[in-house]
């Protein structure tokens, strides 16, 4: 009974542009750590091989160090790996696949360069559908319909679990990278894969890559034979509608703009452990948790200094802060005392979390009468504060931002100089 681990969209060398360089490096490093976990889980589960369904790399022009490190990891693993070029790392002449060490043949690491059957074990044939371009109008699985697993000749008349012309049956596993055409609004150039590819190719399992969240798709008989494994490591803040790291999927929705839902990961890094008892049998698919980092985005409404203190305490008490990227968006209206305590909040975020981002643009300052009297006195500062508070309600965003910041500066300086 063949077993294997299906992973995809590892995007090693991920393009991260919205963080500082050192933080971006940590995010990239986490993807390697997650790959190590994939290998570890595959070995633990005694998988026959590891199948990567495209986008091992984030681009065909990744660093040599990234390419070599990925190769070394896979080459040193105690199971063979089959790697399919995806739309991010298409099979171009001169691309990462043509450069050392990926340009040399190895029994441990196989780059699936052509649409031709590969015998990966006794009675198990792998049918690769490599991607040669970032975008394409062609269905990469089209060739499977007429493919005999031995020579690719016409196999008309054959059915799943039965070899053509009386040859013994084999487990047919196809691997492809593209968008399964499950709805009509997908972009046409996104390597669209026929919803019936499993049936047309008489496949036992179609391992797909491209979409970042795990999903299983049943065939006509209701057997889930088509699967996206999702990313092995999350790459966006959960709770936000975008990727926010600077990463680009290369394709957009039918209506343009934004990132399609398929490219929003679920927040947990996973791979799939697949076992197929015999040709024609229903595959058993188990998810494996391999993710490293937690990406969290939260919005908190504040109104009193006590709210800030409570939030600080709660953030301090959370587990796995060192592996967490936390984006905190504050809303509400607070007095100056509470506003001044935000510095402590910032200290907690920056000091205890792998990355803490505080967005206080939604927080409004409304000092109490006592605060106004205490900080500004009865002189000019009071007039200035009144003017700034008017400007902080202006429709002009820039003017409003400047005014709000100026209010805080006023409070800060007024407190420094004392009464």
């Amino acid at each position: 009974m063949p077993t294997f681990v299906h992973a995809a969209d590892l995007h090693l060398g991920l393009r991260v542009t919205r963080f500082a360089p050192d933080m971006a490096q940590k995010v990239r490093e986490a993807r390697f750590q997650a790959l190590e976990r994939v290998i570890e889980r595959a070995v633990e589960r005694r998988a026959d091989f590891l199948l990567i369904a495209g986008d091992l790399f984030d681009d065909h022009a990744v660093d040599a160090a990234v390419a070599r490190r990925a190769y070394a990891l896979l080459h040193d693993a105690r199971l063979p790996t089959y790697v399919l070029p995806g739309n991010h790392d298409p099979l171009l002449s001169g691309s990462v696949w043509d450069r050392p060490p990926w340009d040399r043949a190895s029994p441990k690491v196989t780059v699936l360069r052509s649409a031709a059957p590969v015998d990966v074990a006794d009675g198990v044939v792998l049918l690769p559908c490599p991607v040669k371009r970032k975008t394409s109008l062609d269905d990469p699985t089209l060739w499977l319909a007429g493919c005999d697993q031995t020579n690719g000749a016409d196999a008309a008349g054959a059915t799943r679990g039965q070899g053509a012309e009386g040859r013994p049956a084999a487990v047919r596993i196809a691997v492809a990278h593209g968008s399964l055409k499950i709805r009509d609004d997908l972009p046409l150039d996104d390597h669209l894969i026929d919803r019936q590819a499993v049936e047309r190719g008489r496949l036992d399992y179609l391992a797909l890559g491209h979409w970042h969240s795990r999903s299983l798709h049943p065939d006509r008989d209701g057997v889930p034979r088509t699967a996206y494994s999702g990313v092995h490591e999350p790459m966006r803040y959960q709770g936000s509608g975008d990727v926010r790291t600077g990463w680009s999927p290369y394709t957009v929705g039918a209506h343009g703009g934004g990132v399609r839902a398929e490219f929003l990961d679920s927040g947990s890094g996973q791979a799939l452990f697949v076992s197929i008892a015999a040709p024609g049998a229903a595959p058993v698919v188990e998810p494996l948790d391999v993710g490293v980092l937690n990406w969290i985005q939260e919005a908190v409404d504040l109104s009193t200094p006590e709210d800030v203190q409570r939030l600080v305490a709660e953030l301090k008490a959370r587990p796995e802060k060192f592996n967490t990227l936390l984006r905190l968006r504050l809303t509400g209206t607070v007095d100056a005392e509470a506003m001044m305590q935000l510095d402590e909040l910032r200290n907690v975020l920056s000091g205890r979390y792998l990355l803490g981002e505080l967005d206080a643009t939604g927080l409004r300052l409304a000092p109490t009468a006592d605060e106004v009297r205490e900080v500004t006195g009865q002189g000019i500062l009071r007039r200035v504060l009144e003017e700034l508070r008017k400007e902080s309600l202006d429709d002009d965003l820039k003017k409003r931002s400047v005014a709000e910041r100026a209010v805080l500066v006023l409070y800060q300086l007024a407190r420094e100089v004392g009464s």
Partner: protein
């Protein structure tokens, strides 16, 4: 608070002083310097505010008279909120020191506080301040020379607090500290002076860094686009290769097919080629024979043309030779006529020279006569001038000034003499006719008595200046003398004597006797004679000067010699003129000149005509010769050409032979054409070679194209391999750019916030100051205008209740009538001392008034307005009266002030009718001993 009375004993120079029932309004306390005015002020300050009874402060120690009659005692009676109090202090650290606070009731004074310290504290509390230089006292209690207004930062907190309570909050110390801190923070981004972006500003630095990172990012993006283009090109090339390979294979098959077809048609194509070569050779031979015949005929035609042209040129040469000969004869005749005309002109020129010489000789004769006459007149004028000079020198007479002096002295002498005569007594003594009358001696003035020789019955009159002694023998002495010395008469007598001597000496110097009355007339006559002689001398000198040139008589003589020499030279050059001078009259010379000019004009015209004729003849000869030469050259060339054509004809042979060759060649060409037609190829046979060559070319090109695409693919692959790491570089560049843009946005926001804060602070400060101080400003400006300080339109208040500068309109109206007026600022300290003092006083009165709205206040001015002119001083008295009365209806209302003025010039305050005046000089009993 109002001061109602002061009692002082033994305080500095004041032995004792009692001031009671001081009224409201203006009180003038006056007295000369050192009366004790300033001591009075110090006593009031010390008692009411500054010192406890037992203070050992130097100020108190200095106030104790060294040898006084006891410890200093000061009592100040004051009224506040309608109640009168009295604080009495005996300043002494010994047992006699004390301080008592009393209140005046209906029954008299009641002790409120006996404890000295408590009494002092309570008194200060009632007076409203802890010392005499804080609170209202800082504003209204001015020492001598205290002119300047307090600086904003040195305003007493109590005073500022009261002003804020009445007028409103101005710029608080917190505001000031805040602004200072804000300005310091702003220096991080902006320059201190103009608020421009500073070079060291983090915004500037981050902007620079952002630009650098943007450049790096753009470079990465450019490279990325190039790589994308490479990918696209690579894909395009890969798409092309299958088609190109198929096309190449097709071309190879076509080449093979054409090669087989070419082999099959080789014999037919060789036969046709042979026929084609034969036809071509026959055609060439026919064309060559026809060409040679044609060439012979052409040469013959050109030789005949040369023959005709040569003959024609020969005829033209002969015609031109005759014309050249005729032209040369005409030139010879014209040359001879020109020579004759030139000789006639030369002869006229000689004649002209002689005529000019005669004219010059005649002129010389006239000039010589004139020179002789001028020489004679000059000699005569010189002699006349010499004679006049000698005559004037012989006259001894005073000049006009000396004569006037003499007359003046004579007048003075007569005036003195008359003065002496008028002042003198006249002694008239008549001797009795009795001869036995006793003799007498008479001494007048200072002369000793001497016997008077007076005949009986005679009378002696004698002027007496001082007195006389008359000794009548046998009778006694009669002595008359003036009551005192008449020194004026002596001086007059001395002056008279001196003038007599000077006049005598002067007259004698002119040979006249002083006593001779006619001497004065003679002197005058001699003076007039001298004047006449001098006038004559002057006239003679003028005549001489007019007669003589610049060089004098020698110049005249030299000129005369020069004229003679010129005449001699002319005669030597033209001796014939000396022998026969002829008629040299002007009329004769003019007639001869006119005749000469007429003939000269005729000769010149003749010469010009001859020159023109000669030039035209010469040009005609040259033209004819030139044409002749050209004809010769042309004729020689035609002859040479003719010879050449002849030689060519001889070389080509004869016409008959050439014509026969042409006919035979034509026949052979026709036969070859017929043979060629018989061997003509089909279209396929004819084009097989070309089609094979084209197919070879097409195959080559397709192979080439395929090779190029494969080469391009290899190049693109290399380029793509070179893009390794670009992905990370781009990401890093974009991250770095995003990072610096975030920093820049934060820093910009911080800078903008600070700038906005500073702008708003300035705006609010302006509004606040304006709102608070405007009432004071308006009141002060109203008073200032009344004073005549009209040069300024506004006061500038910086951050305090006291103005720091004056604003005068610039008069600029460019922005239109609706534009706010423009001012230039003058610091108060830059104004005159007097103006600064006056404005300062007005500000104090205005502020004091508003603070006195609820309770009258005391203003204490020690020697104020010492630097004001009379006019402004008078006007200020009105202001003082108004300030003292207060203006309850004003906004804010101004309360009454009790204004105590200490001055040593009470007359300056006389016009202040409502003021009550106290003469401190009369009220103060001074300490008998000197004070320390």
């Amino acid at each position: 608070m109002i001061l109602r009375g002061v009692e002082i004993d033994h305080w500095r120079c004041i032995g004792s002083l009692r001031l009671s029932d001081l009224p409201d309004g203006v009180v003038v306390l006056h007295g000369p310097n050192r009366t004790g005015k300033s001591s009075l002020v110090k006593a009031v300050r010390a008692c009411l505010f500054d010192y406890d009874h037992n203070s050992k402060d130097k100020e108190i120690v200095r106030s104790v008279p060294r040898r006084g009659g006891g410890s200093p005692r000061v009592a100040v009676e004051f009224e506040t909120k309608g109640v009168r109090y009295r604080i009495t202090k005996v300043f002494s650290a010994r047992v006699d020191g004390s301080a008592v606070l009393e209140r005046r009731d209906a029954g008299g004074w009641t002790v409120l506080v006996k404890d000295p310290k408590e009494a002092s504290r309570e008194a200060r509390k009632l007076a409203g301040a802890e010392s005499s230089d804080v609170g209202l006292q800082q504003l209204l209690w001015l020492a001598q020379g205290d002119v300047k207004l307090p600086e904003a930062r040195k305003t007493d907190a109590l005073l500022e607090q009261r002003l804020m309570e009445v007028l409103g909050v101005l710029v608080t110390n917190r505001d000031a500290r805040f602004k200072e801190k804000l300005d310091k923070n702003c220096e991080k981004w902006y320059t201190a002076q103009r608020g421009a972006a500073a070079k060291h500003s983090p915004v500037t630095q981050l902007t620079k860094l952002r630009d650098e990172r943007k450049a790096a990012f753009d470079a990465g993006e450019r490279e990325y686009r190039e790589v994308e283009a490479v990918v696209a090109a690579q894909q395009q090339a890969e798409d092309q290769i299958p088609d190109l390979e198929r096309h190449t294979r097709d071309a190879e098959a076509e080449v093979e097919a054409l090669r087989a077809e070419r082999t099959r048609t080789t014999a037919r194509r060789q036969q046709f080629a042979e026929a084609e070569r034969g036809a071509g050779a026959a055609t060439q031979a026919r064309d060559a024979a026809a060409k040679r015949l044609e060439q012979w005929r052409g040469r013959r035609s050109r030789w005949q043309e040369a023959e005709r042209k040569s003959a024609e040129l020969e005829i033209r040469r002969e015609q031109r030779a005759e014309e050249l000969s005729r032209r040369r004869q005409q030139l010879v005749a014209a040359t001879e006529a020109l020579d004759a005309a030139r000789q006639a002109v030369d002869a006229l020129q000689d004649e002209r020279t002689e005529l000019e010489t005669r004219r010059r000789l005649a002129a010389l004769a006239v000039e010589e006569a004139a020179a002789d006459e001028a020489l004679r007149k000059a000699v005569e004028a010189q002699a006349a001038a010499t004679a006049s000079e000698q005559r004037a020198a012989g006259l001894h007479a005073p000049d006009e000034k000396a004569l006037a002096d003499l007359h003046a002295k004579r007048g003075d002498r007569e005036r003195l003499r008359a003065q002496l005569d008028a002042a003198a007594l006249v002694l008239r003594l008549t001797r009795d006719a009795d001869p036995h009358a006793p003799p007498f001696d008479l001494g007048v003035d200072d002369d000793p008595p001497a016997p008077a020789d007076l005949a009986p019955g005679a009378t002696l009159e004698q002027a007496i200046r001082r007195g006389f002694h008359l000794i009548i023998h046998g009778v006694g002495v009669i002595e008359l003398c003036r009551g005192r010395d008449d020194r004026d008469l002596d001086r007059v007598a001395r002056d008279l004597d001196r003038l007599d001597k000077e006049l005598a000496l002067a007259l004698r110097s002119f040979g006249e006797e002083p006593d001779d009355p006619a001497a004065w007339n003679r002197l005058t006559e001699r003076r007039f004679a001298l004047l006449e002689a001098q006038r004559r001398l002057e006239a003679d000198r003028k005549t001489l000067k007019a007669a003589l040139p610049a060089g004098g008589l020698p110049a005249l003589e030299a000129k005369r010699r020069t004229l003679g020499q010129e005449r001699d030279a002319l005669l030597a050059e033209h001796p014939a003129l000396a022998a026969t001078p002829g008629d040299t009259s002007a009329a004769d010379l003019a007639a001869r000149d006119a005749d000469w000019k007429r003939r000269g004009a005729q000769a010149a015209a003749a010469r010009k005509l001859a020159e023109t004729t000669e030039a035209e003849a010469r040009a005609a000869v040259e033209s004819a010769a030139d044409i002749m030469q050209k004809l010769d050259v042309e004729h020689a060339a035609v002859r040479a050409q003719q010879q050449s054509f002849r030689e060519e004809l001889d070389g080509l042979g004869d016409e008959t032979t050439l014509a026969g060759d042409a006919v035979r060649a034509e026949e052979r060409a026709l036969a070859a054409a017929a043979a060629l037609e018989a061997a003509r190829l089909t279209e396929a046979e004819r084009t097989v070679e070309q089609r094979a060559a084209d197919a070879d070319g097409a195959l080559e090109r397709r192979r080439q194209r395929l090779s190029e695409v494969r080469g391009e693919l290899a190049r693109l692959r290399g380029r793509l391999e070179g893009s390794e790491g670009l992905h990370t570089r781009r990401a890093d560049a974009e991250a770095a750019l995003a990072e610096v843009e975030d920093q820049l946005a934060r820093e910009t926001l911080e800078a903008e916030a600070h700038r906005r804060l500073r702008e708003l602070f300035e705006q609010c400060r302006e509004k606040q100051v304006s709102q608070v101080v405007d009432p004071i400003h308006d009141r002060v400006m109203q008073w200032a205008t009344r004073l005549g300080l009209g040069d300024y339109q506004r006061l500038h208040f910086a951050d305090g209740f006291f103005p720091t500068a004056l604003l005068a309109a610039t008069g600029a109206t460019e922005a239109g009538a609706d534009a706010p007026p423009q001012y230039h600022e003058v610091a108060l300290s830059d104004e005159s001392f007097g103006t600064e003092e006056q404005l300062g006083l007005l500000v104090r009165l205005a502020l004091g008034g508003v603070l006195a709205a609820s309770e009258p206040a005391v203003a204490l001015f020690d020697d104020p307005l010492a630097h004001s002119d009379v006019q402004k001083h008078r006007r200020l008295l009105d202001v003082l009266a108004q300030a003292a009365a207060g203006t309850p209806t004003a906004r804010p209302p101004a309360g009454p002030l009790q204004i105590l003025i200490l001055t040593c010039h009470p007359e300056r305050f006389d016009h202040l009718a409502s003021a009550k005046s106290y003469d401190l000089g009369a009220l103060i009993q001074r300490e008998s001993a000197a004070v320390v």
